[in-house]
Amino acid sequence: MNAPVRPAPTLPDPRPRLVEADGAWLLAGLRCTDCGYRMGLARPRCPVCAGPTEPARFGPEGAVWASAVQRIALPGLDAPTVFAYLDLDDGPRCLVRCDASADPERPPAPGDRLRLTGTSASGDLLAGVAA
């Protein structure tokens, strides 16, 4: 009888985390206590000044740096998918997937305002048009 095959562990998720607070979705990140640098991902120390960091929450809104409509499907990701780099107000830059409210034929332009709207079932950051 063959020994049972253990499934391989899942790769740690490298994406930023969102938390819900007071009805808004916020990015749970870090801020350097020396230089104020804002980070959306875990870091052992500030990569700019090597200073210590403290937990910080950013969002829920920000301005689009650029967007792109990906029209090829991947395993687990349909096409078209609208991605955007979102500079959260007083926060880090993060990659978001525009939610169902986005029109792939009229994707957000640089400077447009978006609002974090949660996390997809697969763990992607979602954002939609800010009111």
């Binding site: 790769l11 740690p12 998720d13 490298p14 994406r15 930023p16 804002r38 991902l41 990569p47 700019v48 740096w65 650029a66 967007s67 792109a68 409509v69 990906q70 029209r71 090829i72 991947l74 395993p75 687990g76 990701l77 998918t81 991605f83 780099y85 500079d87 959260l88 926060g91 880090p92 830059r93 990659l95 997937r97 994707p107 332009a109 640089p110 763990g123 992607d124 950051l125």
Partner: protein, 378 residues
């Protein structure tokens, strides 16, 4: 600098699923070593090998079949700049007297990993885990450039048209057919505004160079400078598009070390994995003013007979982009150009050439690595 390129060699480029990475490497190495006309027992004394997505051991698996054994073999990976990183390290080794005659090899076999479509994003990277492919990553830059009025869609397409006009004269190129603007703009959209003919294809290939100190042979091509950098943090503080800063800073240092300026450069091979990459690269190198690369391209100045020839090999778009091999394929093209051996794509009177390769794929920085080298005679 005292380093010289003694010889170069490449395989053909394109989908070659029946040919192993080692076999591709043999073709490149044999041609380069023959071209170098080494004395019996004259090396190579060490080998640097760049490869990105293949199996571990591809370096030794290639080399021992050629009888290159017992010497130091150093494998490097810097994404699309792996081949030029291998070259850069070979040059440095010669300059420092670490080794006398050094072989640099780049090799990649992608068609048996990816049948069709884009290379799957890296799941350990935040952007990769979200499913952002390289075409979409470049499309972010392209859409911002379009919004800023720095380029027009037809100017992006003109890059692919131009490269195809060179590639018909390159017997080793993956795509040897001339295409026009309508065909480029009308091809399948991959990530707006980049259509499939504005994206490099899955490709297999190998390229190699033999480098050593000045041995008094006229055919050897002098290395004027070689600079390798890794990217800076790219975040909310940065209004600039990715890669521009790295290419600009690396090129400024290369010009300083070579004691030349961009106006002294006669021919350029730069990293055009996607059409927007050539536009941004041209401006970062100083070939065109900011927002001017598109017009220069559309006017034909970067194409055959133009004043600023860019990617006469056909570039990554038309020659092909087997990741680890690309940088050394660019080196080979520049060497052929400087020797007057480039046939129908020859840039007349080329004396100084520049190679720029930019490797990406790690989010949070504007490039994994950038290598810029200048070759020729001042």
């Amino acid at each position: 600098m005292s380093a010289r390129v003694y010889g170069v060699g490449t395989s053909a480029f394109g989908r070659q699923p029946e040919t192993s990475a080692a076999e591709l490497g043999w073709q490149a190495v044999i041609e380069a070593v023959t071209d170098a006309a080494l004395e019996p027992g004259g090396g190579p004394d060490a080998v640097y090998v760049g490869s990105v997505l293949g199996a571990p051991g591809v370096a030794q698996r290639t080399l021992h079949s050629l009888g290159i054994v017992g010497v130091p073999v150093i494998a490097v990976e810097n994404a699309c700049a792996s081949g030029t990183t291998a070259y850069h390290e070979a040059v440095a080794a010669v300059e420092l007297g670490r080794y006398r005659t050094v072989l640099a090899l780049g090799v990649e076999q992608l068609s048996t990993l990816y049948g069709a479509g884009a290379i799957l994003p890296e799941p350990s990277d935040p952007e990769g885990r979200a499913g952002l492919t390289q075409p979409a990553h470049y499309a972010l830059t392209a859409s911002r450039y379009l919004a800023q009025g720095r380029v027009r869609p037809e100017e992006l397409a003109a890059v692919a048209v131009k490269s195809s006009r060179y590639a018909v004269h390159n017997p080793r190129a993956q795509h040897r057919r001339e295409i026009d603007l309508d065909r480029v703009l009308g091809s399948r959209m991959i990530a707006d505004p980049l259509t499939v003919l504005q994206c490099c294809s899955i490709s297999d290939g190998a390229a190699a160079a033999v480098i050593g100190p000045d041995r008094g042979v006229d055919r050897d091509v002098p290395v004027l400078a070689s600079v390798l950098t890794s990217g800076a943090l790219w975040d909310y503080r940065d209004e600039e598009v990715p890669a521009f800063g790295s290419i600009r800073a690396t090129s400024q240092e290369a010009y300083r070390r070579a004691r030349v300026g961009i106006d002294d450069v006669d021919v350029v091979e730069l990293h055009d994995a996607f059409t927007i990459g050539e536009i941004v690269g041209m401006e970062a190198l100083g070939l065109a003013p900011r927002g001017g690369a598109g017009a220069l391209t559309a006017a034909g100045e970067t194409g055959p007979g133009g004043s600023r020839p860019v990617n006469p090999s056909g570039g990554l778009l038309a020659r092909g982009h087997p990741l680890g091999a690309t940088g050394l394929a660019q080196i080979a093209e520049i060497v052929w150009q400087l020797r007057g051996e480039a046939g129908g794509r020859q840039v007349d009177g080329a004396r100084i050439g520049l190679v720029e390769t930019m490797g990406g794929g790690v989010s949070g920085i504007d490039a994994n690595a950038c290598v810029i080298t200048l070759l020729g005679s001042r």
